[in-house]
Amino acid sequence: MIGDIMGVNESERPLLEVQDIYAGYRPDFDILKGVSLHVKPREIVCVIGPNGAGKSTVFKALYGFVNVRQGRVLFDNRDITGARPQDALKAGITIVPQLRSLFPQMTVYENLEMGMYLERDKARIKRRIDYILDLFPRLAERAKQKAGTMSGGEQRMLEIGRALMWEPKLVLMDEPSAGLAPLITKAIFRGIHRLNREIGLTVLMIEQNARQGLQISDRGYVLDLGQNSYEGSGRELLEDPNVRRAFLGG
């Protein structure tokens, strides 16, 4: 639809398709009231919106942490509505949550290992860890350090690294840059962009740091009050006066 104008591969079918979902935490109260979005292979898609709009809730719905009451979620043409976390993982989706999610007493290496918890082939795990450590030299330096003692930026990096362990088809990132110094933020965004270019990583992310987030994104969605309110290419949204005024702070 609108998003397709700027889409990287217009002909390709979406990898993830969220169709008009309703979901919430209480039985009688919906937080998401009809959210639809889609992500095509090798795309970076960014979701922005005010606090409490329900952005994180969308992720939770995809990852089986909250009940979807209505609507469907299709991934790779399979219906994964109401999947459990391990089902989502098996389907090829990994997640970097909004708040820290490492095993603080385990080493960096062990944390990466846990990223492949569902894999039993030891050699493959080893290969993947080598690959990730290669990708993030900073982590390689600290492979033996306990995750809990690393700085905020390093922890974020480790979380992203762990999410990539699984060779996911789609990574969900909830505010990957929150709380990170500009240097690291840049590095993270660049890194995401690079991974997207080099290995075709597909990313769906939420960002409050909307300008930078939209800059590296192919497309973006604006969510407000549990509903879609705008969508378009990253640049379109950045330049849309309404969006700027209401969501980007002028």
């Binding site: 935490y25 994180s56 942490f65 909250v66 009940n67 949550p97 909004q98 708040l99 820290r100």
Partner: protein, 347 residues
């Protein structure tokens, strides 16, 4: 109907006060019907009610620290014991009359609460619980070892004085007093502060709350009332020894009753105590062999299905439907597992 619910929600405590008042008015004249030929009230019933009032007082005391402040005290009965022994020793060894002895017991409990509280109230969660449990067990053995003062394991015999109506009145008034106190407390900023401490102690401290002072204050107040009950109990029981006074399951029963009623609510302990006391009565007269077993099963069922206690049910009547209950058992659907808990900064 809507306004009614709103009033209930807004002044959560309003109807409770009414109920309590009615109950009070009803209970007050009970002993007057005591004339045996009329058979309305037997001494045994009075005795049961006296026990009930004591339990209400104890549970409300426990609720002050456990429910409001969030410090789950597994050794609360230690204050009961100190109250009992304080009064008992003064009466049996020093020959004091009861009232001054009771004051000694209650004050001793409060002082001990300040002392032990300044050490243990720095601990969090289960660590506080176990430290208090340890204090409780240690105190029992200390009392046992201090044979010359406390009579050791053989205990102390107090002059029997078994005026049921008197004990009835005294414990009733005490219970009403304590419940009213808690009710008033919860509405003051002091009470709100206690809840704040329960929710985030470090945060509260940094927002200007002298948490130590608040915790110790409520701790000794609770201990003081508990000490009074201990002294009354000792006098009524006519003899004390370490094992009957420092009775392990006393505290955990208080916890259980408070939970059933509603932790951290004013009416919770009253309701919980009454229901369990009454339930027990039915159980042991019907299942002589199995009553404890049945009680255990009931306890589990209660906790599984009514984690917020009876007060929780009152506030959310829809939660009673069978489907909802089953849902609760199955675990209320997916949890918000996504937002991880933060670590604490040390003070």
């Amino acid at each position: 109907m809507r306004t009614l619910t709103e009033i209930w929600k807004r002044y959560k405590l309003g109807p409770l006060v009414l109920i309590l008042l009615v109950l009070f008015l009803f209970l007050l004249p009970l002993p007057r019907w005591l004339a045996p030929e009329r058979k309305l009230v037997s001494n045994s019933l009075l005795f049961s009610l006296t026990q009930l009032f004591m339990l209400v007082t104890l549970a409300s005391d426990w609720n002050m620290t456990g429910g409001f402040t969030g410090y789950i005290d597994f050794g609360h009965a230690v204050f009961f014991g100190i109250g009992a022994y304080g009064a008992g020793v003064m009466m049996a060894k020093a020959g004091w009359p009861f009232v001054p002895a009771l004051i000694v017991g209650a004050v001793a409990a409060a002082i001990f609460a300040v002392l032990i509280g300044s050490a243990t109230l720095r601990l969090k969660g289960p660590y506080f619980s176990i430290a208090m449990l340890g204090t409780f067990v240690a105190m029992r053995e200390i009392v046992r070892v201090l044979r010359p003062i406390t009579g050791g394991g053989s205990g102390l015999t107090l002059p029997p004085y078994l005026n049921r109506p008197l004990f009835y009145y005294v414990t009733l008034i005490l219970a009403v007093l304590v419940v009213a106190f808690v009710w008033w407390l919860r509405r003051t900023q002091f009470g709100a502060t206690l809840v704040a401490i329960r929710e985030d102690e470090v945060g509260a401290e940094m927002r200007g709350i002298n948490t130590t002072l608040h915790k110790i204050t409520i701790f000794w107040i609770a201990a003081f009332f508990t000490g009074i009950v201990g002294a009354l109990w000792a006098y009524q029981n006519t003899f004390i020894d370490p094992d009957v006074v420092f009775f392990e399951s006393r505290t955990i029963e208080l916890v259980m009753m408070t939970m059933l009623g509603g932790l951290g609510t004013v009416a919770g302990p009253v309701i919980g105590v009454t229901v369990i006391y009454w339930l027990r009565d039915i159980l042991w007269s019907n299942f002589l062999q199995f009553h404890l077993l049945v009680e255990g099963v009931l306890l589990i069922v209660i906790v599984l299905f009514f984690p917020e206690g009876i007060m929780g049910l009152l506030n959310d009547p829809s939660a009673t439907s069978l489907g909802r209950l089953w849902g609760r058992y199955l675990g209320e659907g997916p949890k918000d597992a996504y937002q991880s808990t933060e670590t604490e900064t040390s003070v």
